[in-house]
Point group: C2
Chain length 334, copies 2
DNA sequence: TGAATATTTGTAATCGTTTTCATTTAGTTA
DNA sequence: TAACTAAATGAAAACGATTACAAATATTCA
């Protein structure tokens, strides 16, 4: 069934049928005739042919490091919330944390696969910038800031700054930090700088030394907490770059019979479900991942519809969620 | 840049260029000439035009109820693992737990959008069956059994049967059950029947009465555990249909100063990360969600490549992961 | 009324490939 | 060498829509 046969059945030209579907000029009679034939045959225009002709794929591509991660799952859910209503479809490319694949998919998508790209990136190399510069389709970067590009990201710096400040206000004087690699701009660099500046601004710049770098896992949090505590004993608080690291750290501290928050405070980052079921529950920072996904794709759709956007960058807020792991009891030794 | 211009530059016909890309008959000289031009221009054939001509979209569609769910995230990760190597791309449709949308996307995908479909479904209505029957593209159903269709699913029944048996072996005599709606075949019906048959086969059929139906959340687990315990006091074990429910139940029991596993055992289902960080850690069942995704898409690719498959249904195994919440101490009151 | 504008219509070109077909050239076999 | 078969080639016809163009009809405005 193609447009020609429908046209023949309805006694009109194929152009008329095309107009019927695209709200072109068409008389009521013909409209009705076509409607009837379409109904009877169940005809649907070929997406392929439309795409070839119009150069619009009606698809958005999202490139992400790992789909089975809670935060990324939420972002994608947000993207889909908006996309569902828009007539666009979502094409997913999972790089499995391989930056090379990121480049590969970028150019694959760019060629003509999709109308726009959302990149949930972690690391920007020189080659990334080069590929990004050569892109033909519009792109929005989600979760990272990259000047000169449309991007939606979270205020990691201030979140960590204020989280650190909170612990200082709770009475901590020797704060340790469990971070991640600086290659990850948001989670590594931004959060670390937030910590550093907060301790410095409050007169505890010595804390800048009590730092160990971990991986993104609970186990690594456990190991590195051990390393941290063995090197710098008598810490009265540990600030962690992620919830997973914080949970690993809490496990180590509990094994060492350190009371949380009695003797030492611990904070995470990301508001994962995990922190809600630990004992004690974990003080953390909530980012609106789903919202950021919605905003990013909203931005992209605006670009695609030809609107000129007032803002190129959206920095989202955060919310410090204080739970038991930082709630100091009366007469606490901290 | 289209195939014609490349042909002109290389001094050959467009058919030759097409053959160059599709391993058709072509001489070494021309091959080299074309290679050079392609290299210089960075030409890539238009996917749209290819699709229109060949009727192959090189895309797989997956329809799922909710992307930001751990188990579904893992399945999709598995799907992507395999797809990444295969030259196929993944189109995602999120129904947001709306079965109507499932039907909608099924027919949208069916028309000509994708070469094959993976359906991660929960509920099969009569209309589902009708739409499935009318499908033109091959489909594999993931996570549920539906006779007559290719499907990959987990052995929920035996998993729950043996989990229940384990608790009986641990000495439980009054087991309660926190389940979910029977509309969900795998999580609702199969697991519930596993529980019922296990208690009956072991002479405790009275336990079939100690049942309350919950939602899929921690909070609901808390509420329904309360309801269960208030109705049937003196339970010495609670079997839960999901980890979330189990964690909610544990929270309630701890509030009531019930010792787990000292006075009452609790088990979950699904091996979510959550159960690993609770106190006590949660005994659960591990399903290989990622593996099931890989198998499902592998099946689909086999179908697409024209292989005749020996098996239409794959029932995957499971693994009972015993943690603290069911580990009875010596001299335990249970 | 006449002119200008808005609506309606079909024909045919176009998008960028693949593939059939017919033809030529090269290679093999008897 | 003759008679095949296999390999190489290009012209042209699809694939199924949209849309520029030209032409006809209807409507509006002064």
């Amino acid at each position: 069934m193609n447009i020609g046969e429908i046209a023949k059945l309805a006694g009109v030209s194929s152009a008329a049928v095309s107009r019927y579907f695209n709200n072109g000029y068409i008389s009521e009679e013909k409209k009705e005739a076509i409607r009837k034939v379409v109904e009877e045959t169940g005809y649907r225009p070929s997406v392929q042919a439309q795409t070839l002709r119009t150069k619009k794929t009606k698809m958005i591509g999202v490139i992400l490091p790992k789909i089975d991660s809670a935060s990324i799952g939420c972002m994608v859910a947000g993207i889909l919330n908006v996309l569902n209503e828009s007539g666009y479809q979502l094409l997913i490319a999972d790089t499995q944390n391989n930056p090379e694949k990121e480049l590969e998919y970028l150019s694959a998508f760019d060629e003509k696969q999709v109308d726009g790209i959302i990149l949930i990136a972690t690391i920007f190399t020189a080659r990334h910038r080069k590929v990004l510069k050569g892109l033909n389709v519009p792109i929005v970067i989600l979760g990272q800031e990259l000047s000169g590009y449309y991007c939606v990201y979270h205020d990691d710096y201030h979140a960590m700054y204020n989280m650190t400040k909170l612990l200082l206000e709770r009475g901590c004087r020797r704060l340790g930090y469990l971070g991640v690699t600086a290659k990850d701009k948001a989670v590594g660099t931004e959060r670390y700088e937030g910590f550093c500046n907060a301790v410095t601004d409050n007169g505890f710049s010595n804390c800048r030394n009590y730092v160990v770098i971990a991986d993104f896992t609970i186990d690594s949090g456990y190991e590195k907490a051990k390393e941290l505590m063995e090197k710098y004993s008598e810490l009265d608080g540990i600030v962690c770059a992620t919830d997973e690291i914080a949970i690993g750290a809490m496990r180590y501290l509990k094994e060492q019979k350190k009371e949380i928050p009695g003797q030492i405070l611990v904070t995470g980052h990301g508001d994962s479900d995990l922190g809600r079921v630990t004992t004690p529950t974990l003080t953390t920072v909530h980012y609106s991942y789903e919202k950021s996904g919605e905003l990013a794709v909203g931005m992209l759709l605006d670009i695609l519809s030809g609107k000129t956007l007032a803002v190129k960058e959206m920095k989202l807020g955060y919310e410090i969620v204080e739970k038991e792991s930082s709630r100091v009891q009366k007469n606490s030794p901290v």
